[in-house]
């Protein structure tokens, strides 16, 4: 933990001034989820505004990944409402696809497609979901690969890249769909310490451009630098929700205090 903290704290200048819009792009109202009889998410209420950057933290098993996976329907919720970009999630496959088109997601284990080259990974969805012609899709792909600083890897296969590079490709792949919202599910947890920074740098850049982001992470340095709001979850509930300075310096709830004292102790 200490390694990753060190890498996160010497990130670039604070970017707190980035503006947050009025428009609500994600809304969770009284959302519940069960795995069988196990109640994983209990009465989740959350509003995310356009351009907001939210960091979700909490002990493992607290439901934070499950919550963001509900937003693009990788997990189904059983009660309450999820409204993304004005569309309410239901069993309607069309609506699910519509939402997934607008919501990018990065996973802990990247989930790149190992049988396709990096370029093919990037152009697949734009070409076959958005019907963009190949030439244009490749141009966009190169643009984003350049932005995540690995344009020279375009023709390689995912298996030939380091973890950090793969995660940057995964971010670029999501961006190629020009999403309105990005979800990050522990994007740095599977990386070696020296690769965490390169991924966080890309994420910070993205935040600076005003991308709406929800990020499940243990990178507290990242949370301090980038987030507008930090959400602490435990036992399937949102325990505390505050702006980062308040959250870290003055946690209200005792479970938050315990959690922070444990992860910042060393």
């Amino acid at each position: 933990m200490s390694d990753s903290n060190a890498s996160a704290t010497d990130l670039q200048a604070p970017t707190k001034e980035m503006k947050v819009g009025e428009e609500v792009v994600i809304e969770l109202n009284g959302m519940h989820k069960w795995y069988g009889s196990f109640h994983v998410l209990k009465d989740i209420n959350l509003k995310v505004h356009h351009g907001e950057r939210i960091v979700v933290c909490g002990p493992s098993g607290s439901g934070k990944s499950t919550m963001i996976r509900c937003i693009n329907r990788l997990e189904e919720h059983q009660q309450g409402q999820i409204i993304v970009n004005g569309i309410e999630l239901s069993n309607d496959l069309k609506k699910i696809d519509e939402i997934r088109r607008e919501v990018g997601m990065c996973f802990q284990h990247f989930n790149l497609f190992p049988h396709l080259s990096i370029m093919e990974n990037l152009v697949l969805a734009p070409m076959w979901v958005r019907n963009i012609p190949r030439g244009e899709a490749e141009e966009t792909a190169m643009k984003y690969l350049t932005r995540v600083k690995i344009p020279e890897q375009a023709l390689k296969f995912p298996g030939q890249l380091s973890g950090g590079q793969q995660q940057r490709v995964a971010i670029a792949r999501s961006l190629c769909m020009s999403p309105k919202i990005m979800l990050f599910d522990e994007p740095t947890s599977a990386l070696d310490p020296e690769m965490i920074k390169e991924v966080l740098d890309v994420m910070i850049e993205l935040a600076e451009e005003g991308m709406t982001m929800i990020c499940v992470t243990h990178e507290m340095g990242f949370a301090k630098t980038v987030a507008n709001r930090v959400i602490f979850m435990d036992g399937g509930e949102i325990i505390e929700e505050n702006e980062p300075n308040q959250f870290f310096d003055n946690p209200q709830h005792e479970r938050t205090q315990l959690f922070l004292s444990q992860i910042l102790a060393h």
């Binding site: 996973f107 284990h109 497609f113 697949l124 076959w128 979901v129 792949r173």
Partner: protein
């Protein structure tokens, strides 16, 4: 051994490996005589080769009869068959072995399709040839139609040829290739169905797979040729070959389904999620992401099923279709050529082996080509 030299830290160059690791001697030492047990097995293998290979070569080549147009060269002093291969037998029966009783004047129809097939296949296999997509498309769609009209005839001024005249290697290839080409897509659909969340679809697929896997191919063929017509109303009759084709195809697609399912199960959940998160719907996700990986992983199993199917076509002999092997048996029961069945079988073995080995080699080539380092 060169003397030990001292290098400065960080300056140590890569030195060549010692002589015992490289070259023929190095290889033999490592692989043939590395331990007493290894040495023992090496010697045992040499002894077995000595026991088996010379008599085999003698039977197949050195003592065999090679030239001649009738059976006289294949007879010993007493008039019985010689104790070695009789290749004139194969030569004399070559046309029936290859094409069965297909009318000799119409053989060009088959040969033309062989040439078309061969050219298209070569174009697909040789990496330098362009327009691969079109060759593949040709093989998949127009080619079977062309074949059908050419083989059956009865239209375009071609003579009608009944399917019971089809035979030999030609018939074997018709059955095997139809079975191979049809069983893969059916197998994929069955595999997807078996993993479906929809209970009815799943139940139907499971029932289908377990039914066909649970019965021997011989009984499938018997059913198709003997019992199936009994269920049909008077006057309705399907061609015997067609029934066998359907039987073989459904039988092997059940096996194929299980092979493909194995591949599907090996695809990590993250691949599905990655595809879904990008907005790919089920069909696109399966087509672009899941199936290519799953099928690649089970190439050995798929080719295994193909090879099995290719050899199982010999079973159609039991319902009276004269495939390659049945034709060879028929040839050797000809009064002029009694006693040369072994030669016929040796020839059959050689031909089957060539086809199966070819498939095996191509599958390994595919595996190497599709390997992307993960």
């Amino acid at each position: 051994m060169a003397e030990q030299r001292q290098y400065e830290v960080g300056m140590h160059p890569d030195l060549p490996p010692p002589a015992s690791l490289v070259g023929v001697v190095g290889w033999m030492r490592a692989n043939l005589v590395s331990s007493p047990a290894n040495t023992f097995f090496t010697l045992l293998a040499i002894y077995l080769i000595y026991l088996l290979i010379p008599p085999m070569l003698d039977w197949l080549i050195f003592s065999a009869a090679w030239v001649g147009d009738d059976n006289t060269v294949c007879k010993n002093e007493t008039g019985g068959p010689i104790a070695a291969a009789c290749w004139p037998f194969i030569k004399a029966w070559m046309t029936p072995f290859m094409f069965g009783r297909y009318p000799e004047s119409e053989l060009w129809r088959i040969k033309i399709t062989y040439v078309m097939f061969g050219v298209a296949l070569l174009a697909l296999v040789i990496p330098q040839v362009p327009f691969k997509k079109w060759f593949a498309l040709f093989l998949l769609i127009p080619f079977p139609v062309i074949c059908f009209y050419l083989y059956v005839g009865g239209s375009f001024g071609l003579m009608y040829v009944e399917t019971n005249l089809w035979g030999g290697l030609f018939l074997t290839l018709v059955i095997a290739i139809t079975g191979i080409v049809a069983s893969l897509p059916i197998g994929i659909l069955l595999a997807l169905g078996r993993r479906s969340n929809m209970p009815v679809v799943k139940a139907v697929c499971v029932a289908f797979i377990e039914l066909w896997r649970g019965v021997p191919l011989i009984s499938v063929l018997f059913m198709s040729s003997v019992m199936f017509p009994l269920f049909m109303p008077e006057g309705v009759n399907f061609d015997k070959l067609l029934r066998a084709l359907v039987g073989v195809t459904l039988f092997s697609s059940a096996y194929m389904a299980e092979v493909v399912r194995g591949g599907l199960q090996a695809i990590p959940k993250g691949q599905y999620e990655g595809a879904q998160a990008l907005g790919l719907n089920f069909v696109k996700m399966m087509y672009f992401i899941v199936m290519p990986q799953a099928l690649k992983m089970v190439i050995p199993g798929i080719v295994n099923t193909f090879i099995g199917l290719f050899k199982d076509t010999t079973l159609v002999g039991v319902i009276g279709l004269l495939d390659f092997l049945a034709m060879i048996q028929a040839g050797s029961s000809n009064p002029d050529w009694l006693g040369y069945l072994t030669t016929g079988f040796a020839f059959a073995a050689l031909v089957y082996w060539c086809f199966c080995f070819g498939m095996s080699q191509y599958s390994q080539h595919l595996e190497r080509k599709l390997h992307t380092g993960h």
